[in-house]
């Protein structure tokens, strides 16, 4: 990423703006939060039971 001449079609050799990294980073972080919510926080009974041991050992509040 620090290499300025990354051959991408739409960005070319222009220096990256905040928008080029901020939106993808926020989207990826949002996806990460969805995965974490499903594994660690979601109240649904089946999800809780499936992830039970993971939640306990990761220190997520459980039950």
């Amino acid at each position: 990423m620090s290499a300025p001449n990354v051959p991408t079609s739409h960005i070319g050799t222009a220096p990256r703006t905040l928008k080029d990294t901020l939106l993808p980073a926020l989207a990826a972080a949002g996806l990460g939060i969805v995965l974490l919510f499903g594994a660690g926080f979601a109240p649904m009974e089946a999800l809780h039971n499936a992830a039970h041991d993971s939640r306990h050992s990761a220190g997520f509040p459980c039950h």
């Binding site: 990423m1 080029d20 990294t21 990826a28 499903g38 041991d53 050992s57 997520f60």
Partner: protein
């Protein structure tokens, strides 16, 4: 860019998640199973007493429903109803799935932050990020809400989840301010953010205690602290490595 962040998160998360499942098997899982045997024993007693108080005049249907509910809940020592994985391979497989989901989630957050930082990284810098993640997502919440065994008395789960997020968020903001803050007032703010959730205090149950012996509860805290330390260092190093591989090494 998005696909590179996701590729980094997925690669690091899958490896670290499976590693976590392996490390949990060394101690953590065994302690949870042992605690559940105490949970079953504790639940069995009041049920027996309760059945004796029933007279034959009471509706049989009600008793049957009651018994069924208990039978279901006691299947593998867990008081929750609904579907649950069978003990053995199925339960381990779902634990692995949950571990990987959690690990990919954390790796995506870390990978997004590395991308926003805009610098190349390697596995050694990744180790530092992993240590920070351990402090934010394990140590800070555990200071108020230590990892709990099944069958431990606790405050309502939503209140504890909210406090957990405040403790983690406070620690994350505090670390960022301590590392990158230039002005002394930012360092003071960092200490305040760090301390406030713990001064307010984690939600506590009306009565403390659990069905498992205190030594087992302590052993569980040590075992999960070690397992999570190994997990976070691996996750950080792997995320740093794959971030370099997918972005910097061209």
């Amino acid at each position: 860019m998005f696909s590179r962040i996701v590729a980094t998160g997925a690669a690091a998360g899958i490896v670290a998640g499976l590693l976590l499942t392996g490390v949990q098997h060394l101690q953590v899982t065994e302690i949870i199973r042992t605690a559940e045997t105490y949970e079953v024993a504790a639940e069995a007693k009041p049920v027996a007493a309760h059945t004796h108080t029933h007279t034959h005049e009471q509706a049989h249907e009600h008793e049957h429903a009651h018994e069924d509910a208990h039978k279901d809940g006691h299947k593998d020592g867990h008081k929750h109803g609904g579907w649950q994985p069978e003990p053995g391979f199925e339960r381990t497989a779902f634990t692995a799935l949950a571990d990987v989901s959690m690990a990919v989630g954390y790796a995506l957050l870390l990978s997004a932050v590395l991308t926003l930082r805009g610098k190349d990284s390697n596995w050694r810098q990744g180790l530092l990020w992993g240590a920070a993640g351990y402090a934010v997502f394990f140590i800070a919440p555990s200071l108020g809400l230590p990892p709990e065994l099944p069958g431990t008395q606790a405050a309502p789960v939503v209140a504890r989840q909210a406090w957990w997020l405040c403790a983690a968020g406070g620690m994350a903001a505090a670390l960022a301010l301590l590392v990158w803050g230039r002005h002394w007032s930012l360092k003071v703010l960092a200490v305040v953010l760090l301390a406030v959730p713990h001064l307010v205090g984690a939600p506590q149950p009306a009565v403390h205690g659990g069905v498992a012996p205190p030594e087992l509860a302590r052993a569980f805290i040590v075992a999960s602290a070690l397992a999570n330390a190994a997990f976070w260092l691996a996750l950080g190093a792997l995320t740093g490595h794959f971030h370099h591989r997918f972005n910097g090494a061209r």
